[in-house]
């Protein structure tokens, strides 16, 4: 499934599709270059899910935690600054996988872990000023 948006904010229909996927599979992994719009899309997705807290980049903190209106935790990861997968294991990633919805930026950094976890994959790229989101398994 593919979505193209003219402006960074025009992502609502893709967010609704992502919500539907999360109902079946709570792990969603975002891949794309720096500046492709991963955090921007996750902001829209979180808003559509009813999260009222500020959704910002977890690059420094590695993981931000939000709550859905029903109390379900949403973990927003960013593995940009880790150097190898053991760091993700170190922070207890498997515990997070079992504890709520996991939205993962820079999944490229933990491909070995993700290969063994069922997840929805989202590739984000930019072409001629348009953002293209491709959902896959």
């Amino acid at each position: 499934m593919q979505f193209t948006s003219e402006t960074p904010t025009d992502l609502t229909s893709a967010a609704h599709y992502a919500m539907e996927q999360l109902r079946h599979n709570p792990i969603m992994v975002f891949r794309g270059e720096m500046g492709a719009g991963k955090t921007t899309f996750i902001k829209t997705l979180c808003q559509q899910m009813g999260i009222t807290e500020e959704v910002s980049s977890p690059t420094f903190s590695l993981v931000n935690e939000y709550r859905l209106p029903d109390g379900m935790p949403v973990f927003h990861f960013d593995f940009y600054r880790i150097q190898n997968e053991s760091e993700a294991l170190d922070m207890g990633i498997y515990e997070y996988f079992d504890s709520g919805i996991c939205l993962i930026e820079w999944g490229e950094k933990i491909e070995g872990i993700l290969a063994k976890e069922k997840h929805t994959s989202v590739r984000i790229c930019e072409e001629n000023g348009k953002r293209i989101l491709t959902f896959g398994n």
Binding site: T39, S56, S61, E87, D90
Partner: protein, 350 residues
């Protein structure tokens, strides 16, 4: 030691660095940060080493802090620790240690909010070198790798976040743009160095149009990325050739965005004092513009020494001292809280 002395041991382990500090009546007797040495050896911030290192660092760091302060454990009035926000595993090391030590010494335990402590770092005094303290109420701009906040501080305990970043933190913008430019991560300080010799008017990057007192830096990151991509197509080698000017233009834009909002907040809150906190306050351009703003508006400007700007335990001890004076203690059921929210530190955007 005077019987009325308040001596606090502060412990900070929220993210990458393990730190311990001893303060007496607001004077910092020691402030030890472990981690930097390890990080320097391995190049940059290495969370794996850091998060595991908390456990092996905590005992030597605390012992060194006590020894450097020339204070015996029996003299401590209380132990203050970072409850959150931060990484669960990292926080837990500091919390468990602080609880065990307070139980063993039979002294009070004080939990501290990490971001509140950054603001209160301004009250850290160095022995024999007193500096003017900010007067309440004041405005504090906290800028670091993980945070960008405008805080209206009405008392040591009561603060409101009146503006914050909607996406990337200012320090993160510096580091990521430095990475785009091929500088090593975290490249903020390197970018600052190169920018000093460049022309800040070389490229005019757009400022985000964000309502009220909030910030945004992710658009700038994208603008830099596209600008370099387009220019490299026309003229291969463009980035390297103009590196200093590009750095200066980026730094000019980031610091302008920060200072513009601070200025807007000054107009709104009309403080007499403004303060800068967090690791990015080391940035030379930001310090310069901060000073100029204060001068233009006739305000007192406060920038803590750099060791109190980055994550450190002295600020935790200072925040702990204020709570200690108010008699606000925790019991042994205290726990790390990665999303810690203090009822006295709230978001209230005008």
């Amino acid at each position: 030691m005077n019987r009325t002395d308040i001596i606090i041991l502060g412990i900070e382990s929220s993210c990458d660095d393990t730190s311990a500090s001893v303060i007496r009546n607001g004077e910092v007797l020691s402030n030890v940060v472990a981690g930097q040495e390890i990080h320097r050896l391995y190049g940059g911030v290495v969370p794996e080493l850091a998060s595991r290192a908390h456990e092996s660092n905590i005992v030597p760091v605390v012992e060194t802090a006590l020894r450097n302060a020339n204070v015996a454990k029996s003299e401590l009035s209380a132990i203050a620790f970072t409850k959150g926000p931060g990484l669960p595993g990292s926080l837990m090391v500091g919390v468990s240690f602080a609880k065990a030590m307070s139980m063993a010494l039979q002294i009070p335990l004080v939990e501290v909010h990490h971001m509140q402590a950054h603001v209160l770092a301004h009250f850290a005094q160095v022995p024999n070198n007193p500096k003017p303290l900010p007067e309440f109420p004041f405005l504090c701009l906290t800028v670091s790798g993980g945070h960008t906040q405008l805080v209206w501080v009405t008392s040591p305990m009561k603060m409101e976040i009146v503006g914050e970043t909607l996406d990337d933190a200012a320090g993160e913008a510096f580091d990521k743009i430095a990475k785009i430019l091929g500088l090593p991560y975290p490249g903020g300080p390197e970018l600052d160095k190169l920018a000093r010799e460049g022309n800040p008017a070389f490229i005019r990057f757009p400022h985000p149009r964000i309502d009220k007192l909030d910030f945004s830096f992710s658009g700038l990151k994208t603008s830099v990325l596209y600008h370099l991509r387009d220019k490299e197509k026309e003229e291969p080698g463009y980035t390297q050739k103009n590196l200093k000017d590009i750095c200066a233009s980026v730094q000019h834009t980031i610091t302008d965005i920060l200072i513009d909002k601070l200025n807007l907040a000054v107009k709104k809150f009309k403080p007499r004092d403004i303060a800068l906190a967090g690791g990015v306050s080391a940035n030379s351009e930001l310090r310069k513009k901060f000073g100029e703003l204060a001068q233009k508006r006739g305000l007192h400007a406060h920038i803590p020494a750099f060791e109190f700007c980055t994550d450190n335990a002295a600020m935790i001890a200072i925040a702990g001292m204020f709570k200690f004076q108010e008699g606000i203690f925790s019991d042994l059921s205290a726990a790390a809280d990665p999303r810690y929210q203090d009822s006295q530190f709230v978001t209230h955007k005008p």
